[in-house]
Amino acid sequence: MASKRPLLIPSPRTPSTLEYPSLPTFADLLKPVPEDLNSVSTMDSNNNPIENQQNSEHPFHSSSRGSISSLQSRNSGSGNSIREVPIKFGSKGAESDGLGLSQKEINDEDARLIYINDPAKTNERFEFSGNSIRTAKYSFITFLPRNLFEQFHRVAYIYFLVIAILNQLPQLAVFGRGASVLPLAFVLSVTAIKDAYEDYRRHRADRIENNRLAWVLADNQFQQKKWKDIRVGEVIKIASNETLPCDLVLLSTSDSTGVAYVQTINLDGESNLKTRYAKQETLSKVPEKDKISGVIKCEKPNRNIYGFMANMEVDGKRVSLGPTNIILRGCELKNTGWAIGVAVYAGRETKAMLNNSGAPSKRSRLENQMNRETIILSMFLVILCTIVSVCAAVWLKRFADYLTIIQFYHKKDYSETPVEDYNYYGWGLEIFFTFLMSVIVFQIMIPISLYISMELVRVGQAYFMIRDARMYDESSNSRFQCRALNINEDLGQIRYVFSDKTGTLTENKMEFQCASIWGTDYSSGKSSSQDNQVGCSSQDNGTVLRPKVVVRTDPELQRLLRSEKETEKGKNIHNFFLALAACNTIVPLTKDTSDPSVKLIDYQGESPDEQALVYAAATYGFMLIERTSGHIIIDVQGHIQRYDVLGLHEFDSDRKRMSVILGCPDQTVKLFVKGADTSMFNVIDKSLNLDVINATESHLYKYSSTGLRTLVIGMRELSDSEFQIWQSAYEHATTALYGRAGLLRKVAYSVESNLSILGASAIEDKLQLGVPEAIEALRVAGIKVWVLTGDKQETAISIGYSSKLLTSKMKQIIINNNSMESCRRSLEDAKNLCKKFQTTSSITQNGEGSSGTTRTPIALIIDGTSLVYILDSELEEPLFELACECSVVLCCRVAPLQKAGIVALVKNRTDDMTLAIGDGANDVSMIQMADVGIGISGQEGRQAVMASDFAMGQFRFLVTLLLVHGHWNYQRMAYMILYNFYRNAVFVLVLFWYTLFTCFTLTTAVTEWSSMLYSVIYTSLPTIVVAILDKDLSRRTLLRYPPLYGAGQREEKYNLTLFWITMLDTLWQSIAAFFIPLLAYWKSTIDISSLGDLWTLAVVILVNLHLAMDVIRWTWITHATIWGSIVATFLAVMVIDAIPSLFGYWAIFNAAGTAAFWLCLLVIIVAALLPRFAVKFCFEYFRPSDIQIAREAEKFGDVTQLGGAEIELNQMQESTQQVAR
């Protein structure tokens, strides 16, 4: 990443036990990882002496802990399917919470002991897993049983297995044994082959991974060892740019202070470097020479990649270890010569592997509804079977005498008196067998092929979504990704979209926009980057240094910086930029360019805001060139100056600010503080420069109302005495053994006071391209967009305006509360307010006589603190009711788990589909909670993508995804399911009717091969192809008229009514198909096979034409498959009838030679399809749906000719005009 190692060294004053973790700012507040919550909030407590500034990443008030942990425990308690590996969210936190001891204790039973460099002893008592990993599911031996076991988790498969087994019983063998197993075997083997191939690829990847080499200490020297042979307890040496084979606790690094830089891109996707530290106690040891011995006591493996609790006993000293002392498998060591560590977790117990559970499996709404209809169909099946067996029972009773004569059941012989039973099991059993046999005959009532068709269709739909050029993101070079293959059709039914803000709506590319310095607003920056090339380069030994990013500058400010160096104004501006350049934790890295005399400075840091500020400072001529923990070097307008960093108070969530104390070249000691406005105004001396403060405040308001992120900067010159007091306190605090964090915070509090204000900076978090249009389109489509953000309220609201989420027409309801009671009250007030708006608007409506779409939109804005009291309490219900009334909901300052809680709030109370979209690790919980989770593969890494069902590059693709693909997917899948039910039921009913004419003995006129091939070859391909390719409306129309999306939300294409109508149609069609030949051939010489072939062909042509009637777009592929299927059926029937050993030899050729055969076929098809055709026409013509109108508009182009459809279309046009605006 960088060519040179940064020179960050902890200051000599800082004991090395003080960890230097990241220094987060607001941006980081938004992205803690959900798993982190409990452990981190525990560490929040002040009496915990363990230094863990990681808690600064933690954005919650401690009060939020209760609700969060309860939410989590609820999740984990209910065996949440999202997570495969059980994690104890709550236990650990609660435990150490209660202890609150001076030393962090890990219970013996919860701990693992690792003897450093003594793997034998380490693994003696506990069998820790080795380092070989296995992502493959199966081995050669286990493949068949395990794969089958997994496949049979589908209830439908078990049903078909049972039927196949039943058919093997000689008493029940209706079909040939081979024929009955065939379909199931086919389905199973297709899936098995697919699984086997995938597993083979995983095996290969595992083998490569396991055979990588690492340097492991053995016999006092480092030897190469394969990854899979590494054991817990072994000491491992990692060189620069190498990947870590397992989770290591750092012992020492090439850096004398024990710093190591790692890149965690494989783990959480964040590309910036993170610093990790070796403990001082082990730093100096050279493993080859002095034998390191010690014991690490650490917690059991868990999947929290941001948490680690352990302590280490070295040389009789006990030191505690935290997340900054461990480097995890999958990370890469960067900018560090080497690092030595001891393996604590290996193989599948590493945090990387524990987190490696693919996308959670969700089930689509349609599939769940389909189960309901499947149950109805099963009941049909039972009814049919019962009818057959009851009739058979009556027949057997009534004609008991005949049984002997026709010798079906008894062999009667007049010469020998006793009647010999022939396979006759008695009345009761015969009925029972009849029942089972009829189940076998009518088995395809429950369509096995539907399941495999759905899989294939989803793969096809996914293919088209991935290949959609309009969902390809040029900037990140990423296509749309389908990570979950079974919820495609849910995309067409979304009613709620929960969106993250940063990185999702916005680009998360922070850009310095303007500044307010000493009460003056410099925000007219218009000059291009060309003009300020001069100001932002630095000569250093003949090479020119330039910042990698140049921001646009304000010419007035540039001029002031150059000319007015001595005035007070000039000094303040100088100090302001000095603060921007110095008060941060950015590490500058120089990079070579193609021109050898020019080098670029790349600022690495964990916070994009800080990066933006430092780049801004550099552009204005304050270029940070070098940073160690002892000093920084800044090129101030061409003069290289060295500042001693005397102290640095890191950011934490209580103070919401950070400060740095610099020893300047002019021997003064200055304190620079940077922080959120609310926290800064508390520590600014209001007696000084009140007008400046007021001006700044008004500028801040202006900035944040245009959607900018603001920081306030203040400074103070420390006098000698002040400095002395601070220094002694600081040294005392940093060397304290217990309560270090608390002491440091106290020191910070005491020094960060009486500041004089310098100004404020404003950073723009740019909206992504097309976001306002996309939000508007979603809204018009009837989708409620909720934005959940960690940002503060003003920023959130301003982004809301700029993204058109909020409009000036909307009434805003803001809920900001600090207690349960006040929450309850404000919710009640808000509800009353809502009602008032509605009643007033409904009155005006009645006056105008327009439809109900014009009611006053209400926006609800609620903050995280209020949500703490509302979520998980009885206030959820009122909040939900309130939120339902509102067209927009904006939640600010919410924690990751609260996001999930809000999604759950909606999901648990309605049947509406929810979609969550986000890009960061903080969105993971919400993505997994929602029915459909979408990850933005943007700046913030891949955590969200890994957890998501679909991933894409830009927020605006959501419109294409939902309105176009979602709509298509839903329409297609819904139609396919109904059609498949119909298709199989029609065939079963024909079989059933025939049973009534065969003494209820389940003779099938249709050959068993045709019965088996029916849903596999005769009719399957057209429905699959149609379900993949058919489009009811073009992409253009769907995007032009977003309300068309409502069809999916209202479940227009698949509901119980439609199902019953389809079934009625099925009944009629089966009657037509069966009884016309029956009557035509009554009292004729027709034989079973010929009639059977007629029925087969009639039904196949019927169902294919039925499909053809509903096809909307006929491409050549559709033509080929539908007509091809009919031809294929004819061929298949002919082939079957050309096999002499089969019963119906040559039947089709004899039958097809007669005119009656063809006349029957023709009249069956016309008569069967007639009602459907007429009804379909009536509905489409007299009661057209929106989609139908749009289709006609699309075809005929001219809206005005549509007569009755005009009004509806006008409405749609109105709404789309809003989009255009």
Partner: protein, 330 residues
């Protein structure tokens, strides 16, 4: 309104600049789901035209079918009751089961209209479930086809083996072979009954072996029906072949033979029936059918009626849609 504007224009201008590594999906009409397609819509014009077209096609077909069916001359003569002597009329079963009774029965039929040759002779059985599952399965196709599989009788129980070995042909179907015989004479001259081509050629050639001879057939136990001449191979036993094509429906006809001369109107045909077959035990009716044929097959009005109904219905719908379209357009 133009969400695509942003991306697509970018895509086209930048496409030259994008490197090989670009994952941008290649444009094709297929992947973008923009294949040329025909989009039929049910407009009133189309629907009404379709209905009228169907009506115009179906009504003539229906009329033609009815006409053809009308031209078929069919004589149906039920004889099962009348052929039982009056002293056995209460106990037909005993009569038919007894070996001593005289089964010969003389009947006479008047030809109502001229019947052009060939005149087909059928026997019609009613309430006879040849499609009973046990009955249908009780045969061995292998055994029928080749001599080598003579002992392949696993499906044939209870008529699989006799004391002397496997029964050929085995199974209930063969066992219950129809054994009434008819002799026809008109004006005292005997009418020849031809048995040529009454069975399917395909059956004779491939399903019934020319080297398979009946064996142990109807030799013991209950005799189900006709006996077979053991010197004639199965492929020539046309009555058996016809019988073995099991009927699809419980009321069926089987071809008995053909009369190759024309029968004139009002001819008195006297039929000598050997009334052997036992349908009395299950109330089955036996009928003798003489029928000419037409392009539509035998006498059957149903198809014609069906075509007329469907055609008429289509015309009716066409007219009503037309009326609605004219008087109450949407």
């Amino acid at each position: 309104m133009s969400f695509k504007g942003g991306t697509s224009s970018e895509g086209s201008t930048d496409s030259a600049a994008t490197k090989k590594s670009s994952k941008k999906p290649k444009y094709s009409k297929f992947t973008q789901q923009e294949l040329p397609a025909c989009k039929p819509i049910l407009t009133p014009g189309w629907v009404i035209t379709t209905f009228i077209a169907v009506g115009i096609v179906f009504i003539p077909i229906g009329l033609a079918s009815l006409f053809a069916s009308e031209h078929v001359v069919e004589i149906v003569h039920r004889y099962d009751e009348d052929c039982v002597p009056s002293d056995y009329s209460d106990n037909a079963l005993a009569y038919i089961q007894s070996t001593e009774t005289n089964k010969t029965c003389k009947r006479s039929i008047t030809v109502p209209k001229q019947m052009k040759s060939p005149v087909y002779i059928y026997y019609e059985l009613d309430n006879f479930y040849q499609n009973h599952r046990r009955y249908v399965k009780s045969r061995s196709d292998k055994q029928l086809r080749s001599k080598a599989s003579e002992s392949d009788t696993k499906d044939c129980d209870p008529e699989a083996v006799s004391k002397n070995g496997p029964i050929v042909p085995c199974g209930l179907i063969a066992w219950s072979l129809f054994n009434d015989t008819y002799r026809f004479s008109v004006n005292n001259s005997i009418l020849e009954v031809s048995k040529k081509e009454i069975a399917w050629k395909s059956d004779q050639q491939y399903k019934f072996g020319s080297d398979v001879y009946p064996k142990n057939f109807q030799s013991e136990g209950l005799i189900g029906g006709a006996k077979l001449n053991e010197s004639i191979p199965l492929s020539e036993q046309v009555d058996l072949i016809v019988w073995m094509r099991t009927a699809a429906l419980p009321t069926f006809r089987k071809l008995y033979g053909k009369i190759e001369v024309d029968l004139e109107a009002n001819d008195e045909i006297s039929v000598v029936i050997q009334n052997n077959y036992n349908t009395y035990s299950f109330d089955g009716k036996k009928k003798l059918v003489l029928s000419t044929t037409s392009w539509i097959g035998g006498k059957n009005d149903f198809l014609g009626v069906a075509y007329l109904t469907v055609g008429g219905l289509c015309l009716f719908l066409a007219i009503s849609f037309m009326l609605i379209y004219v008087f109450k357009p949407r």
